[in-house]
Chain length 290, copies 2
C-alpha cells in the first residue's frame, strides 16, 4: 500500500508565482511543477501524457467561471477532476524598488484582466487617470515591472510575485471585495479521487448537462430530478454551446458521490429525459493555508 | 407625433471602429456617438445625465456574458434596457501595409481577450509560437498596428478597423466558429421601449433574481413559477454575488412584456417566495445588417 517513490509531473498555468502555482505547491509540495503558458496547453499536456496532472483555475468568487477552462473541458477534452483547491486571493499594488518613494508618478498599471477587475474601484478612485493594460498573468505583469526602470509602471499581483521579482508593495490588499477565493481543478486522465481525504470531507461531483429542447421547461425538469431526491446543488451555471445565442449547456456541482444510488438514479433519469450528461467525476475539496 | 429635432447623445464602448460602435451606428445612424473608455464609464455617463443613452456589449455567442456589464447593472446602477441589438462578429488578421508581403514574420498579435479567444484555434494552428497580448479593444489593437512600423505585429479586429486604420487584411474570417453574434444593451434612465417597432416584434424582459436560500430548491421553485404559466425563458445564467463562492444571482430573459398579467403574476409570486427581483424592463430586439 506504499506510495510510489517518484515525483508526479504536474502542469500548471504559469508562470511561477501565479495564483495557480501557489495552489499547486499547496496540494503537491514535493512534486515536479511545470508551468505552461495557457489553460488549453495545461489540459493538452495531460491528454497527451506529458504530465500526470494539471492544475487550472475554474472559478473566481468575483469574476465567476473561467470560460476557457469550462469550454475546453466540455468541447475538447475527456479529462476528470481528481481534486479541487480553494485559495484566498489577495492583490497588492507593486512597483519597482527604484520607484518606492514617488507614488504620484505611476504611468501605467499592468495585470491580468480579472485582477484589474477585482481592484476596479480601488484603481478608479486612487489611480483613475492611469492607463490599465491587460497582461497574460499577474506574475508576468510583476516580471515586466521588475524589468522596467525607465518609467514607473505598476503591477497588480500577489505577495509571492512581489518576493520573486523583488518589488516594492506600494499598497496592500487593494481588492475591492474582502471575500475573494479562486477555485482550481486538478485534472487527470483517470476518474479517481486525489489520495488524501480532507477533514470534514464532503464529496462533490461535477456534471456538464446539455438539455434536450427549450431551456425553461427542460431546466425545470432537470432540477426536479435533483430536488425530489434532496440532492444538493452547490452550483449551477450556464455557458453558451457556441451554436448560437440562446443555446447553453449547464455546469452543475452536486454535493454527493456519483457512485451513490440516488445520484446514479438521477443520472439515469436525466439521460431518459434526453439530456447529454458529461461527468467530470467525484472529488474532494482542499483549502490552501493563508 | 413628430420626432424631436435634436440629436441624442449616445455613449458607447469605444474607440471608434469597435464592434459596439458598429451596433450603435446601426441603430442610431443620425445621433451623436460619444466613445467612452470602459463599460462602467458608459453606464455612469447615463446615470449622471451626460448622455441620454449608452450602448454596451452584454453577451457573446461564444464567450458568454460580459461580466462587467452584468455586474455593474446589478450592483451599481438603476438603469433600464430600452433595446437590444444583435450584431454578427467577423474577425480578421490585420497587419501594417508595410508588412503586407511577409506573412512569416509576425512577432506579436494584439487584440481584446475575447477576440483572441474567438480565434484560439486559428491562432494556435497558424501562429502557435507567436506571443498573444491582451489589449483594451480590437480597434485599439488595430490602431497600435497602424502606428508600429519597426516590427511586424498583427491585430485581430473587424473590417471597419482595417478601413479606419488603413491596414492590410492578411487573413479574412479567422474566427473558429462560424456562428458568432454579440448582443448589445441600449441603456437609459427611463423604463421605456426604443421607438421603432421591429418586424416580427417579440418583446423580451430581463430580470435579475436573487434567490432566498439554497440554490437547488429555490431555483426549482422559481422555474416552477414560470413553467406552469408557459412563460418562455430564452436565457438563464448565474453570476456570483461577490459574497462568497457558491452565492449567485440569476439573469433571466423572458419572452413577454412585464405589463402582461401572466408576467405580473409571476413577479408577485417570486417576491412572495422571498426573491429579490430587479427588472431591467421590456424591450425589442434589433439586428444590424451584415
Amino acid at each position: 500500500m506504499s506510495e510510489k517513490n517518484w515525483e508526479k509531473r504536474i502542469a500548471y498555468l504559469g508562470p511561477e508565482a501565479s495564483f495557480t502555482y501557489l495552489a499547486t505547491k499547496g496540494l503537491f509540495p514535493h512534486d515536479w511543477h511545470i508551468p505552461y503558458k495557457s489553460i488549453p496547453e495545461c489540459i493538452e499536456a495531460v491528454s497527451e501524457g506529458k504530465v500526470e496532472l494539471a492544475v487550472v483555475p475554474v472559478e473566481n468568487a468575483l469574476e465567476g467561471s473561467v470560460p476557457l477552462t469550462i469550454d475546453y473541458l466540455y468541447h475538447e477534452s475527456e479529462l476528470f477532476v481528481t481534486a479541487e483547491v480553494m485559495s484566498k486571493i489577495q492583490q497588492h499594488l507593486l512597483v519597482n524598488k527604484k520607484f518606492a518613494e514617488n507614488k504620484e508618478a505611476i504611468e501605467e498599471i499592468y495585470s491580468h484582466p480579472h485582477a484589474l477587475a477585482q481592484c476596479h474601484k480601488y484603481l478608479y478612485y486612487n489611480h483613475g487617470g492611469v492607463r490599465q493594460t491587460s497582461y497574460s498573468s499577474t506574475a508576468a505583469a510583476a516580471e515586466l515591472v521588475s524589468q522596467t526602470e525607465d518609467r514607473c509602471i505598476a503591477a497588480v499581483a500577489n505577495f509571492s510575485a512581489a518576493e520573486k521579482y523583488n518589488l516594492h508593495i506600494l499598497e496592500h490588499n487593494i481588492h475591492d471585495f474582502h471575500f475573494n477565493h479562486t477555485r482550481f481543478f486538478v485534472l487527470s486522465k483517470q476518474n479517481i479521487k486525489h489520495g488524501l481525504v480532507p477533514l470534514q470531507a464532503q464529496t462533490k461531483t461535477t456534471f456538464m448537462l446539455t438539455l434536450p429542447t427549450d431551456v425553461s421547461g427542460a431546466l425545470h425538469q432537470v432540477l426536479s430530478v435533483f430536488a425530489w431526491r434532496k440532492l444538493n446543488l452547490s452550483k449551477i451555471e450556464s455557458r453558451p454551446l457556441k451554436t448560437g445565442l440562446g443555446n447553453y449547456f449547464f455546469i452543475t456541482d452536486i454535493l454527493a458521490d456519483e457512485e451513490e444510488p440516488m445520484l446514479k438514479g438521477a443520472v439515469e433519469e436525466l439521460i431518459a429525459l434526453g439530456c447529454k450528461v458529461k461527468s467530470l467525476g467525484t472529488y474532494y475539496t482542499y483549502v490552501t493555508p493563508e
